[in-house]
């Protein structure tokens, strides 16, 4: 049996706004093994992004435990968390979060700027490769405002890959894409997953969940379903089945 990479226990996250308290997560527990491809589903406001932000060490839970590779995140300093984000995790935001007026290539390079082990040639090299992977080589000098929504999303994906992470956390990475582009991107993720990268993928769409091996469903901050998918579809094959675009 492969080892546990993510382990959360009774995770709670509350937001206090004046007198009101929003309980976004009400005690969530699960473990994810290395190499899994997990989709997290649930209606809007069910706490998916909140959970993913905590998994990505971007936010702190109000209570509960979170371990990566057996290390409790609670015990780590801000700087240690920054290093984990920098070297272990690739995060794709629901709203891309690219640097404006900065070329796609430089956006992808960004995480490596903060890794002193990576030389500037290696940085350029790896960023170029990541851009190639998402099929944007011909757009690498364009700034976000010159790119379509889907292209920006792909830049964000490339940025999450560039540091060779052990896990990728994606928040609705296909949310704004047409079926074809969404499937293209899913095939990239499946490819990465085959290489051993653990993927946690938040989505609204049930057909996307079919590409993963496990689905966790949230409702009002609780897990209501957590099931294995025994019939994993291949995104590449599904892509081939789609009717050809008429140009």
């Amino acid at each position: 049996m492969s080892k546990e990479i993510i382990k959360i226990e009774d995770l709670k996250r509350e937001f206090t706004m004046g007198a009101e308290t929003v309980r976004a997560l009400r005690g969530v527990s699960f473990t994810i093994n290395e190499g899994e491809f997990v989709t997290i589903m649930g209606s809007s406001g069910s706490g998916k992004s909140t959970l993913l932000n905590i998994l990505g060490c971007l936010d702190q839970p109000t209570s509960g435990n979170y371990e990566i590779d057996g290390v409790k995140m609670k015990d780590l300093s801000k700087n240690q968390l920054a290093t984990i984000r920098n070297e272990k995790i690739g995060f794709i935001f629901q709203s891309y979060n690219l640097l404006a007026r900065t070329s796609a290539l430089e956006n992808v390079e960004l995480p490596l700027f903060y890794n002193s082990k990576v030389s500037s040639e290696e940085r350029k090299d790896r960023a170029t490769k990541a851009i190639e992977m998402v099929g944007l080589s011909d757009r690498k000098d364009h700034t976000p405002s010159q790119l379509s929504g889907g292209q920006q999303q792909r830049v964000a994906i490339a940025r999450s890959l560039v540091n060779n992470p052990v896990m990728i956390l994606a928040d609705e990475a296909t949310g704004n894409l047409d079926t074809r582009t969404a499937y293209e991107i899913m095939s990239i993720f499946q490819e990465l997953n085959k290489q051993g990268i653990t993927i946690v993928f938040v989505t609204h769409e049930p057909d996307i969940a079919l590409f993963s091996n496990r689905t966790i469903v949230l409702k009002d901050g609780n897990i209501i379903k957590d099931y294995q998918n025994h019939n994993i579809q291949s995104a590449t094959e599904e892509l081939a089945k789609l009717p050809k675009q008429d140009d």
Partner: protein, 406 residues
């Protein structure tokens, strides 16, 4: 390696925001430049007053009738008639610290040569006058003691008078002129001195024996002033005390009575004027400080806003692995680059403005090194502090909080 990366990031951010950078710099540039220029004006006028006064003879001592009112812009004694020729004689006889001494009587009138007419001032003096005032002659010679005794109608004139009553370029020496209808023979022309710091034309004078001026022009028997030279500059204070003692006993003043005359050395005059121009400098510094303050507030404002509007960017950078120190460093480098560049441009502009003022407005200026250092430091520190402070606050946030910042 890491620092080099941060330098690159900071540099990129500056280039990406040219307009904002320029505005921030503008505040710094104007602040620094105005302080330098204003202080240069203040220092310049102080210095020029000092050199003018020194050029007038720094061991000069003046004795005026009437009590001391400590005003630098006093008239020539006005109606006070307590200084007499006897006083002059006694001082001349008894004072051991003086090398030259002359009585002075003066009055205004018209200098006339044929149809040329010019209002001027006549000074009645003795031959020591030239030595006391350190004036040379362009041509001719000074009158003699004998001519003083006989109250001869001879005169020396300054260049301005020459220009106005001898407009055709005639040689004045040997010519006859009239001052208030009294004929004088011109026996010399004074060396040109130009304007002094107070804007007085030092060449607009007529000089004649004091006896002649007293009797024939002013019809008075008292003196407006006595002027003397101490043997050396160091003797000046001693000379002042000596003259004061001599005059007090001559005027038979009781210990309880105040002096009815005023003795001043040039040294004192210099400090009086210096303190006046010190006031001017303080005033200018106040104005400059205000502009520096306004510049500082501008820098604060723009730095603060620029960090605030980039909170999202800070959040993203932290999300991909930047540490708090990295963020802080980036903004610090940005602030330093902007402040230093702005400060240097400000220094250049300030120096340029100073040269302009000197050349085209003809104001004396003198750039003080401390003004450059202070203004530069103030602007750099405000820029750096207000770039650093909001960045520090932002870098202490959780990445997600910073990312969500609107």
């Amino acid at each position: 390696m890491r620092l080099l990366n941060l330098l690159k990031i900071a540099f990129k951010a500056i280039v990406l925001n040219k307009m904002r950078t320029l505005l921030t710099m503008l505040g710094i540039i104007i602040g620094v430049a105005s302080v330098i220029a204003m202080l240069a004006i203040g220092e310049g006028s102080k210095e020029s007053i000092r050199t003018t006064i020194s050029a007038m003879g720094s061991n000069m001592i003046t004795i005026r009738p009437g009590a001391d009112d400590r005003g630098p812009a006093r008239g020539s004694g006005g109606d006070v008639q307590t200084l007499t020729l006897d006083d002059y004689e006694v001082i001349k006889e008894k004072a051991t610290t003086l090398s030259y001494i002359t009585p002075i009587v003066n009055g205004g009138g018209q200098v006339i040569n044929g149809s040329n007419n010019w209002p001027s001032t006549i000074y009645g003096v003795n031959p020591d006058y030239l030595n006391i005032k350190v004036v040379d002659l362009q041509s001719g010679s000074m009158f003699t003691d004998a001519e003083v005794k006989s109250a001869s109608k001879v005169a020396l004139i300054g260049q301005t008078v020459v220009d106005n009553v001898f407009p055709d370029g005639q040689e004045p020496v040997g010519q006859m002129i009239r001052f208030d209808n009294i004929p004088f023979k011109v026996i010399g022309v004074l060396e040109e001195k130009g304007e002094n710091t107070f804007g007085q034309d030092q060449d607009d004078v007529v000089i004649a024996p004091y006896t002649t001026v007293q009797k024939r022009i002013l019809a008075i028997d008292y003196l407006n002033q006595v002027m003397a030279s101490a043997i050396s500059e160091d003797d000046a204070p001693e000379a002042v005390t000596q003259v004061t003692e001599i005059l007090r006993s001559q005027h038979k003043l009781l210990d309880s009575e105040d002096d009815d005359f005023t003795v001043r050395s040039m040294e004192e005059l210099i400090s009086t004027f210096s303190s006046t121009s010190e006031m001017l400098t303080i005033l200018l510094v106040a104005v400059a400080s205000i502009s520096l303050l306004i510049g500082g507030i501008g820098i604060m404002n723009i730095m603060y806003v620029s960090v605030k509007e980039r909170t999202k960017e800070i959040g993203l950078r932290m999300a991909v692995g930047a540490k708090g120190a990295d963020i802080l460093m980036q903004f610090l480098i940005e602030a330093i680059l902007i402040s230093i560049t702005g400060g240097l441009l400000g220094v250049l502009l300030g120096l340029g403005a100073t040269v302009f003022i000197e050349k085209f407005l003809n104001w004396p200026t003198s750039v003080a090194l401390y003004s450059i250092i202070i203004s530069f430091a103030v602007c750099a520190v405000t820029g750096i502090f207000f770039g650093w402070y909001p960045a520090r606050k932002a870098s202490a946030l959780d990445p997600i909080t910073a990312l969500r910042y609107e």
